[in-house]
C-alpha cells in the first residue's frame, strides 16, 4: 500500500497549472535559487520580473529571450499538435515582450521508447509549418530517448531569441488604459478538454494555436508607444493574465462581460462542464493595455490582420479596487479570481 506524505512535500499538478500555486512555487523555490543580490542589475529584465521572457540591453537595443517546455495529452488535438504548440508558445512569449522578429529558435525533444516514428515526423513537419508562419527558424536542437514509461510520449522544449528597440512588459498598466483582447477566448483549452475525461462530445471546437508575432507587430506599429502592457493568456486564461497585470501595476481592471468575444460552442462547453471560459487557456491570443487615444487605431490595426478579426475592447483600468479584476455581468458585478489550478469538469 502506498502512503501519503504531506502535500507541501510534493509537487502537485496544481503547481504547473498557471495559477496561484504555481506562482508561489516559483517565488519560493526558483526565485530563491536563481535571483542573486543585488536583485536587478541595470539593463536586465530578469527572473524576478516574472514576465513572459527576459531582456538584456545590448547597445541601444534589447535582446529578448524565453524558453518553454511543452507536454500535452493528447499530442494531436483539433486545430494543432504539440509541435505547433511548442513553436507558437515561444514565438508568442517573445512577441509579448515587444520582440516580433525572431532571430532563432532551439528545439529539444525528449521521446519515450516506442513512440511511433510517423508521429514524430508529423510533429516536426508541423513545427516547420508554424516556423514558416512566424518567419522563424530552428537553429539548434537536442534529442533524448527515455525508457518506456519513464515519460509520457513526447516532451518538446523550445527557446527563442529576438531583438527589439522597445520592450513591453506586463506591469505597465495605468488608470484609464483600455484593455483589448486580440480574439475569441478559451478556444484552445476547451478544444483539448473536449477530447479528455471521456466526455465523448461531438463539438466543433478547434484550438487557436498560432504564432501571433505578425499580429502584435501590426498593433505595435499602428501607434508606437501606446501599448502599455501585454501578456498572452495561456495557462490560467484571461483571468490569470489580467490578475497578474493588475496586481503588478496596482490598478483595478473592470471588464464588460457583453464585450468578451467567446464562440458559441465554447460557451456551450462552458455551460456543460461548468468551467468559466475566462480561466481556460488560449494559444494564439494577446491581452494588452492601450492608451485611450490610441484605441481606435490599434483596434483597426489588429482587425485588419487575419488573426485579429475578433479583437475587441473588453474593459478599462480604474483606480477602484487595486489589484482586483472585476467583471460587469450586466446583472451585477463579480470578482474574477485567479485560477485555482488544474481545470476539472464539475457536476455541482
Amino acid at each position: 500500500m502506498t502512503a501519503l506524505t504531506p502535500t507541501d512535500d510534493r509537487i502537485m499538478l496544481k503547481h504547473g497549472a498557471g495559477g496561484r500555486a504555481m506562482r508561489r512555487l516559483i517565488e519560493e523555490a526558483f526565485l530563491r535559487a536563481f535571483v542573486t543580490e543585488p536583485e536587478r542589475p541595470a539593463g536586465v529584465i530578469g527572473l524576478s520580473a516574472m514576465d513572459d521572457g527576459a531582456a538584456v540591453r545590448i547597445g541601444d537595443r534589447w535582446l529578448v529571450l524565453t524558453t518553454d517546455s511543452h507536454v500535452i495529452q493528447p499530442p494531436f488535438f483539433p486545430g494543432g499538435d504539440i509541435g505547433r504548440l511548442s513553436v507558437c508558445g515561444t514565438v508568442n512569449d517573445l512577441a509579448m515582450m515587444g520582440a516580433t522578429h525572431v532571430l532563432g529558435l532551439t528545439c529539444s525533444v525528449i521521446v519515450e521508447e516506442g513512440f511511433p516514428r510517423v508521429d514524430l515526423e508529423r510533429i516536426l513537419a508541423s513545427m516547420r509549418v508554424a516556423c514558416g508562419e512566424a518567419e522563424a527558424h530552428v537553429l539548434t536542437g537536442d534529442t533524448k530517448v527515455m525508457g518506456k514509461g519513464e515519460i509520457d510520449g513526447i516532451v518538446i522544449n523550445t527557446a527563442g531569441v529576438a531583438l527589439t528597440s522597445h520592450v513591453v512588459t506586463d506591469r505597465g498598466l495605468c488608470v484609464g488604459d483600455c484593455i483589448i483582447v486580440t480574439g475569441t477566448l478559451g478556444d484552445h483549452g476547451m478544444a483539448v478538454m473536449a477530447t479528455r475525461h471521456g466526455l465523448s462530445l461531438d463539438a466543433p471546437l478547434v484550438s487557436d494555436v498560432a504564432p501571433i508575432n505578425g499580429l502584435i507587430r501590426a498593433a505595435l506599429s499602428a501607434e508606437p508607444g501606446a501599448i502599455t502592457a501585454m501578456k498572452d493568456p495561456t495557462r490560467g486564461g484571461l483571468a490569470s493574465a489580467l490578475h497578474e497585470m493588475a496586481s503588478k501595476a496596482q490598478i483595478g481592471i473592470l471588464l464588460d462581460e457583453s464585450a468578451l468575444p467567446v464562440r458559441p460552442e465554447v460557451r456551450g462547453m462552458s455551460e456543460l462542464v461548468g468551467i468559466d471560459p475566462l480561466v481556460v487557456a488560449n494559444e494564439g491570443k494577446a491581452v494588452m493595455g492601450v492608451r485611450p487615444a490610441a484605441v481606435k487605431s490599434i483596434l483597426a490595426g489588429l482587425r485588419a490582420h487575419p488573426l485579429g478579426r475578433d479583437a475587441a475592447v473588453i474593459g478599462v483600468c480604474t483606480g477602484d479596487h487595486p489589484g482586483l479584476v472585476v467583471l460587469d455581468t450586466g446583472f451585477g458585478r463579480r470578482i474574477i479570481a485567479e485560477s485555482e489550478g488544474e481545470l476539472l469538469p464539475r457536476i455541482c
Binding site: D202, P204, P261, E265, L272, G274, A312
Partner: protein, 98 residues
C-alpha cells in the same frame, strides 16, 4: 448543487438522445425521464442523464409567471424604466459595433 443544463433533442434512439447544447452535441441517457422524449423537445441534463423533459409551453409559462410578479408589484418608478431603456439601447449599439 447539481449542474443542470437544458439542451435541444436532435435524435432519439431507444433510451439515448443526442442533445445539442449551443452547438456542442452529447449523447444523454433517457433512463430517468418520466415521459416520452422526442426530437425537438428540450431536456434538462445532469451528469449525462435527462432528468426532465421541458415542454416549450412550460418555459413560456415560467416567463409569464415573472411578468405577473412584476405586474403585481408595479410601482410608479418610471425613472427606473427609462434607465433600463437607455441601457438596452447602449447594449444594442455595442452589439451592432461588432
Amino acid at each position: 448543487m447539481c449542474l443542470g443544463v437544458p439542451g435541444l433533442v436532435i435524435e432519439v434512439e431507444d433510451l439515448v438522445a443526442t442533445v445539442d447544447f449551443w452547438g456542442v452535441r452529447k449523447r444523454i441517457s433517457l433512463d430517468l425521464v418520466d415521459e416520452p422524449v422526442r426530437a425537438g423537445d428540450y431536456v434538462l441534463n445532469h451528469v449525462g442523464f435527462a432528468i426532465r423533459r421541458i415542454p416549450p409551453e412550460d418555459a413560456r409559462a415560467t416567463l409569464e409567471l415573472y411578468e405577473q410578479l412584476l405586474k403585481d408589484n408595479a410601482g410608479n418608478e418610471s425613472e427606473d424604466l427609462m434607465a433600463a431603456d437607455v441601457r438596452s439601447e447602449m447594449h444594442a449599439a455595442n452589439g451592432a459595433d461588432r
